[in-house]
C-alpha cells in the first residue's frame, strides 16, 4: 500500500484522469483504507468545482462593443 504522502501527491492527477492503471489502483486501494486521505480527495474535488465555478465568461458591454469594432476593422483588411 502506498503512503499518504504518495497518495496525496498523485491525487489531483488521479482526479484529472492522467494516472496510469497501476497508479489509479494504488490510490484507490489507499483511499479505501485511509480516512484522512479520503478527506484530502474530497477537498481536492471541492477545490476543482470551486475553480470551475469562478470561470465566468462575462464581458462588459462596452468592452464587447470595442472588441467587435476591432474585429470588424481587422476582418476588413485585405
Amino acid at each position: 500500500v502506498i503512503t499518504c504522502a504518495e497518495a496525496v501527491r498523485q491525487l489531483w492527477e488521479y482526479l484529472d484522469g492522467v494516472t496510469d492503471q497501476a497508479q489509479s489502483a494504488a490510490i484507490e486501494e489507499h483511499l479505501s483504507l485511509c480516512r484522512r486521505c479520503c478527506g484530502e480527495a474530497e477537498f481536492a474535488a471541492e477545490l476543482r468545482t470551486f475553480l470551475a465555478a469562478h470561470a465566468d465568461h462575462d464581458i462588459p458591454p462596452d468592452v464587447h462593443a470595442r472588441l467587435l469594432g476591432a474585429l470588424g476593422h481587422i476582418a476588413d483588411q485585405p
Binding site: E42, L51, A52, I59, A75
Partner: protein, 202 residues
C-alpha cells in the same frame, strides 16, 4: 500585401472566408475575454485584440474549423504570455519548499477557523468571492497560473494545454502540481490577510 511562407496569406482570404472568420471569432469573444481576464487581468482587452489580429493573419492555416476554439485559445495564451513576460521583469519570489509541503485541507482542519461549522472546508471556500479568487490567481507567477486556469477553470485536457503552451506534457503536469500547491497556500494567506477567517488564528 506580402504572402507569408508556408501557408495562404490573409490576402488570399475570400469574402466568404473573411465572413466565416468574423462569425467564429464573434462567437468566441466572451470566452476569450473571460480567459484573458484570468490570465492577464486588466490587459485582457489588449490581449484579445492581439489575438484577433494574429488569428486573422493565420486563418488561412486553420484547416478544420472544429479546431477553432483550441486554435484561438492557443493564440491567446501566447499573446498573454508575451504580455506577462514584458511586465514581469522582477517575478515574485516563491518559496517552493514551503509550498510543496503545504496542504490546505490539513491547514484548515488544524487551524479550525470556524469551530461551530460542520462543513469547515466548504465554509472556508465560500468566504471567497470572484474578485478574491482572481486576486489570488493574479498573485501566481504566469508559469503556474496559465496551466491552472486552462485546466481547472476553462476545462482543457492537460495534453491540449501542453500543445497550447508548446511544452512537454511532463513539464505541464509538474507546473500544475506546483501551481495547485501554490494556489492553496496563497488562498490561505489571502484569507488571513483579508479578514476572511471569522476568528483570529491563535
Amino acid at each position: 500585401v506580402r504572402v507569408g511562407p508556408g501557408g495562404e496569406a490573409a490576402a488570399q482570404l475570400s469574402a466568404e472566408r473573411k465572413e466565416r472568420f468574423r462569425v467564429l471569432a464573434t462567437a468566441q469573444l466572451p470566452r476569450l475575454y473571460g480567459l484573458a481576464r484570468r490570465l492577464v487581468g486588466d490587459d485582457a482587452e489588449d490581449a484579445v485584440q492581439d489575438c484577433l489580429l494574429k488569428a486573422y493573419r493565420g486563418y488561412g492555416r486553420l484547416g478544420d474549423e472544429a479546431a477553432a476554439p483550441a486554435w484561438l485559445t492557443s493564440i491567446l495564451v501566447n499573446c498573454c504570455r508575451d504580455r506577462g513576460r514584458a511586465r514581469a521583469r522582477h517575478p515574485a519570489e516563491v518559496d517552493l519548499d514551503r509550498v510543496d509541503e503545504f496542504s490546505l485541507y490539513r491547514k484548515i482542519a488544524d487551524e479550525d477557523p470556524f469551530p461551530y461549522s460542520d462543513s469547515l472546508h466548504l465554509d472556508f471556500l465560500h468566504q471567497f468571492g470572484a474578485d478574491d479568487v482572481h486576486a489570488v490567481l493574479a498573485s501566481l507567477p504566469g508559469r503556474y497560473r496559465i496551466p491552472l486556469v486552462l485546466t481547472y477553470m476553462d476545462g482543457w485536457a492537460t495534453k491540449e494545454v501542453a500543445r497550447m503552451m508548446n511544452l512537454p506534457l511532463g513539464t505541464v503536469l509538474a507546473q500544475l502540481h506546483r501551481g495547485r500547491k501554490l494556489f492553496e497556500s496563497r488562498l490561505w494567506d489571502y484569507a488571513e490577510t483579508h479578514g476572511l477567517l471569522k476568528e483570529p488564528i491563535r
